[in-house]
């Protein structure tokens, strides 16, 4: 199996057993007193990846990033970058640079001095420092702002200075702590694509910490979803969204309709599950290890459920009836909240393919509707 010839494997190095991981995190834990911030995690990140650590506040993602940067020492386990154990390497000697959430620009230095700081520490000569700073400021389009101090810059400009400063040393790995957190929505989308472009062009491995699932989904090659100091799932954005492995992931990434029930039978790749809140069993495709009688959950994404005022003529669908309780109009789509019975409400996203006729959408408030989804639309979760 050669990774040079296979385009699928060059884009997905984690699938290629011949590839050597660039960053290896091995059985790493970090305790602060009695609190376990990071709990025995293993992770391999490959060269050129744009890897996202995603999770809520206090999940341990920032602590993990700070351990890679060298600001925290693991309580146990080890971290290797490009084959070197980082155990006794202080932050100022690691081949990584970090872009801080607060940007951490030196307030008493100009833009130029900020960007040049890292190169000066490396003892490069003036001419080379000047050239590299120029090139970097050119890239982030701040060449005309070189003599300004950080407080004379807008949020987006500060963010670009921070990026330039962390990239100018050509690190092997760039760590980004909530890189887009402080920007408004429009600037954020723009910056997001800039980041992806830069990463693509320079081929530097990026590790991004974020709490924003949309940011993680659009930016990264792979995502590690973290909770309580441990990884809940590691995979590509598509894998994480379409095939969540646990209720936590299904719920944390996007939204999901969750049914609780028991497995009553499975044949081929279709399982039958008796759902507590529905009269009829639900048929769903599965890949997890199941046995009859075990407790299971079905998760179905809101956009994978169909909505109709008339019965469906496809009898492979799982169908229930319900009443439209709420409609949220987003322009390109609408979200319907359907009450199936007092204990079960479903959320459905329906694209607004046509303009509403007489101001009426696919379904209206208090209307009785049919709701159906294919067995392939849901996933079975066992925990």
């Amino acid at each position: 199996m050669s990774s040079d010839s296979d385009p699928i494997l060059t884009d997905r190095p984690w699938l290629d057993p011949g590839q050597e991981p660039f960053i290896r995190i091995q059985a790493v834990s970090k305790q602060f007193g009695a609190f376990v911030a990071v709990d025995n995690v293993d992770l391999d990140i490959y060269k050129g990846e744009l890897f996202a650590l995603l999770g809520g506040s206090g999940c341990g993602k920032t602590t993990l990033l700070r351990m890679i940067a060298g600001f925290e020492t693991p309580s146990s386990g080890r971290i290797l970058i490009d084959g070197d154990d980082m155990q006794d390497v202080p932050p100022y000697e690691r081949p990584v640079n970090m872009m801080f959430q607060s940007y951490a620009l030196f307030p008493h230095m100009t833009v130029e001095q900020n960007v040049a700081y890292g190169l000066k520490r490396d003892g490069l000569d003036r001419g080379e420092i000047r050239d590299r700073v120029d090139a970097m400021l050119e890239m982030v389009e701040l060449a005309t702002f070189r003599k300004r101090k950080p407080h004379q810059l807008s949020g987006g400009q500060k963010q670009r200075v921070a990026l330039a400063r962390s990239l100018v040393k050509n690190p092997k790995v760039l760590l980004l702590d909530e890189p887009l957190g402080a920007l408004d929505k429009r600037l954020r989308e723009q910056t997001q694509y800039e980041l992806m472009n830069i990463q693509d062009r320079l081929g530097i491995t990026f590790i991004v910490v974020t709490h924003d699932q949309e940011e993680a989904m659009t930016l990264s090659t792979r995502i590690a979803v973290m909770d309580q100091g441990a990884f809940q799932q590691i995979g590509t954005p598509t894998e994480i969204y379409e095939y969540p492995e646990s209720r936590f992931v299904a719920d944390f990434i996007g939204s999901a309709n969750m049914f609780e029930g028991r497995v009553t039978g499975h044949s081929g790749n279709i399982a039958t599950i008796a759902v507590d809140s529905l009269p009829e069993p639900v048929r769903v495709e599965y890949s997890a290890l199941l046995h009859d009688g075990m407790k299971a959950w079905i998760a179905v994404r809101p956009e994978k459920i169909r909505l109709s005022k008339t019965p469906f003529d496809d009898d492979s669908l799982n169908v229930v009836q319900g009443i439209v309780e709420e409609i949220g109009y987003y322009g390109e789509s609408s979200t319907y909240r359907i009450r199936v019975n007092p204990g079960l409400r479903l959320e459905i996203t329906h694209p607004n393919l046509r303009r509403p006729r007489d101001g009426r959408h696919v379904a209206d408030w208090d209307e009785t509707v049919y709701v159906g989804w294919e067995p392939e639309a849901g996933v079975v979760l066992t925990h």
Binding site: A69, G70, F71, P90, P91, Y92, E93, V96, N97, M98, F100, S102, A104, L105, F106, P107, H108, Y117, G118, R121, D122, R148, K149, H151, Q152, L153, S154, Q157, R165, S166, K169
Partner: protein
């Protein structure tokens, strides 16, 4: 709020201000008095200013006081900053609590005791190693450093603990060793605090009578010692003139400092506003 109440509050305010400033105004007023007896008005005159400027003792005392204050403030800032850095940035080392206590002790220690203990130390040292041969500039400066340093340490400590570590971490991340981080990032950020500490140490030293009296020797009079020793023989008009000069100098200093700060702040606000616009 009714007019009755506001009138009451206004009179309280006037009384308070009068309590603070009338004595100083009187002092300035009497410094221009021609009469030799202070409380009796003998017409306007600059006579006592002339006497003052011709008095060599006063000049010598003023110069000594300023020299001590300057050296004291400089050393106090250096040592106080180091102490604060050790307390805030070095984590929990052995004996940290003891060190914290020892740093702040001079703040609460009665001056008489500090002065007396230092005097005993100097006398003991003199007997033991023959140094200091005589008490004066050096001994007073050392004594002043011991207590001013504590004030500086407290000021710097409060600034440091309010400062995030992210700038220091960013510098380290970019390849700066800890000592470089200190000089490139930490100290520039502490500069305003260090300046405030320097000014405080300077004034504390200029102001001190008790500790200086204990640790001085024959012939070395600081300004407070000189003023106090002369006042003991009765109110003297030339001392009024001296006090007036000090008041004027301080007032000018404070106004100038405030004006510069205000201007810098306005400039900064303007720049921030401009940055937000583009």
């Amino acid at each position: 709020m009714g007019p009755k109440r506001s009138r009451f509050m206004f009179s309280v305010l006037c009384f308070g201000l009068a309590f603070l400033y009338v004595p100083m105004v009187l002092l300035v007023f009497y410094s221009f008095n021609h009469s030799k007896i202070v409380p009796i008005w003998g017409g306007f005159s600059l006579r006592w200013y002339k006497v003052l400027f011709q008095s060599e003792d006063v000049w010598a005392a003023a110069i000594l006081s300023f020299k001590i204050a300057f050296v004291n403030a400089t050393f106090a800032v250096m040592l106080g900053t180091l102490a604060a850095l050790a307390l805030v940035r070095f984590g929990r080392f052995r004996g940290r609590t003891l060190f914290t206590g020892m740093i702040t002790a001079p703040l609460v220690m009665p001056e008489v005791i500090t002065g007396l203990s230092l005097l005993l130390l100097f006398i003991g040292l003199q007997g033991l190693i023959g140094w200091p041969a005589e008490r004066g500039f050096t001994t007073i400066t050392i004594a002043h450093i011991t207590f001013s340093m504590a004030y500086v340490a407290v000021i710097i400590q409060s600034r440091l603990s309010g400062m995030h570590m992210d700038l220091e971490e960013a510098a380290q991340d970019l390849g700066a060793r800890p000592i470089r981080v200190l000089f490139d990032v930490t100290l520039p950020r502490l500069a305003p605090g260090m300046l405030a500490g320097w000014l405080l140490a300077f004034t504390l030293s200029l102001d001190d009578l008790v500790i200086a009296s204990f640790t001085t020797g024959p012939g070395s009079n600081t300004l407070p010692i000189l003023i106090f020793s002369r006042i003991r023989l009765g109110l003297r008009p030339d001392i009024n003139a001296l006090a007036t000069i000090i008041i004027v100098a301080i007032t000018i200093g404070v106004i100038l400092f405030g004006w510069i700060m205000l201007r810098q702040q306005r400039q900064r606000e303007r720049e921030i506003q401009q940055a937000a616009l583009n």
